[in-house]
Symmetry: C2
Subunit: 334 residues, 2 copies
Amino acid sequence: MSTVSIKDVAARAGVSPGTVSNVLNRPEKVAGSTRDRVESAIRELGFVRHGSASTLRAGHSRTVGLSVIDIGNPFFTDVAAGVEDLASERGYAVILGNSSGSRVKEERNLLVFAEQRVRGVLITPSDEDPVRLDMLRDRGIAVVLVDHPAERPDQCAVAVNDVTGGAMAVQHLLAGGFERIAYVTGPAAIRQCQDRRRGAERALAAGGRDPLELREVSMPAMTAAAGQQAAEKLLAQDLLPDALFCANDLLAVGMLRGLLQAGVRVPEDVSLIGYDDIDFASASTVSLTSIRQPTYQLGRVATELLLDECDNPDTHAHQQIMFQPDLVVRESTR
Amino acid sequence: MSTVSIKDVAARAGVSPGTVSNVLNRPEKVAGSTRDRVESAIRELGFVRHGSASTLRAGHSRTVGLSVIDIGNPFFTDVAAGVEDLASERGYAVILGNSSGSRVKEERNLLVFAEQRVRGVLITPSDEDPVRLDMLRDRGIAVVLVDHPAERPDQCAVAVNDVTGGAMAVQHLLAGGFERIAYVTGPAAIRQCQDRRRGAERALAAGGRDPLELREVSMPAMTAAAGQQAAEKLLAQDLLPDALFCANDLLAVGMLRGLLQAGVRVPEDVSLIGYDDIDFASASTVSLTSIRQPTYQLGRVATELLLDECDNPDTHAHQQIMFQPDLVVRESTR
DNA sequence: AGATGTGATTGTTACGTTTTAATCGATGAC
DNA sequence: GTCATCGATTAAAACGTAACAATCACATCT
């Protein structure tokens, strides 16, 4: 339970606490010989800086908060990996918050971030209410939106064009000559779901079809389990669509499982396209056509922007970065 | 940038800072009317407790550290979900550290945990060196091992019996009458890999076979990409095994992909069994026989033990919990 | 020699909270 | 009427660090 402080180190090295602090934070300010002495004292005593004391005094911490919608989704895991890698390189710790699509949990996580006085927050919002984020900004906490376009010009955001992605998906289905296309989606509050539908409708219109003919199956979650339930829901109807566009790959994987179990063949009876191109899309029962996104990059770039905003507040220019998705064709639409 | 402190709240409510602190930490100690006054002052001013100041003074924080080997592996994601859920219920924040199997990164993460003065650490160690953990315990930070048996009696650990699991897998293959069984594994430093091999050898011996006949393909990582490389490695040899036991499902999924691409049929030419029973095991090209573990429970129970050790240090009894795995048979071994 | 400058180091204060002992006001016992 | 008791509240002292102004030693310049 030894709690060795900067004072103990100072005593041991025969310097003042201030010098030890300098060695820790501005090594170039202190003479080589004293620095060595301090450093070996640190090593001998096993001193570890007290992050809270440092944060309290300095007014800001070396942590960032990351709030995602579903940590069980490989999409967010990849994003998290990108965030973690860069943050860790820059000496920042990442506090993880999983909202599970629940607004309450999201708010609770943001509160924790505020209490911890994180330097900044990376968030994929679970709905469109920007108020809670202002609460953070008012406290001087930088916020970068991840996989979500900026709500205002004075903020950073990194996203992938979901309208284009949705259009790509349906355009691909239309090229296959399909007649009855359905969109399998998650909660309406999630922006990605809306945008992808908008893209889908746009592609229908561009193909000379009525956007209103797009059938929709909406689920409360975007997991494989929900996808399987969506399959049951779909099979209970009289006329099965001949092509399905799922709002993400987890829904698609579950849908695939549900269809196959019911004896519906993919792609012979129904074509299927997912979204995200998670690692497993290419390894699923019937390999999955999907829309690929630069996931890891998304997390990394977002973190880059966030840390720039934190470390260079005056030179920092807010940026809205929009990546473009790619279509990856596989068996499920052949 | 308003930074409203406990003092401002006190002024507004017409009480002393100490009373505000009591409202925050021991509400039962303060009279109902004053409590109400303080609470509305808190609300009106938008006060959020400064976690660092609190930690500094109280001597401990409301955060726990979670160090995993590969956040890209659904196994660990499920564990993390269990941890996050319980921690969040109890008002704790989770700091995530991903070691990516690198000892250096793991050490860096543990240092960050120490600096943040986390209340406790949950860790799936990436190798067998217990020294670094002592560094944490010496600082009064509780440590619970996750998916790893205890190294000493005075610590908590939650694990699943990997020897049994390995034996189950190979026993299942032997029952299928296979002759040439190979074990596809990750880094030797990872205990899980060793234990599962030990179980495999034990099953061979129990089946009247020579344990030494177990061929081994060892990869530096336990990812799908590594599994695919393992397939190439295997295909370069003259005599293909007729059954493969992969140390985890990611390796198995990659292996499956590699084999199918080379025209090797599963299970007709080669049987395949994985480990972990991740969600995608049942959805892969050929659905995967696997060894199921109570993953989410693992994380939740570990956190339960950790928080008990933190909050009730005197009544806490160290526990070593060992779950048992299950065999789930699917197409890949039929 | 004295003045000036430079680089290295130190003393002190403040950050926002928790905690302990001390204070206060009121109630009831004698 | 005095005194003890009790619950509610307060004042003040930490916790470990960062930051800034102040000091110091010493070399360089005039």
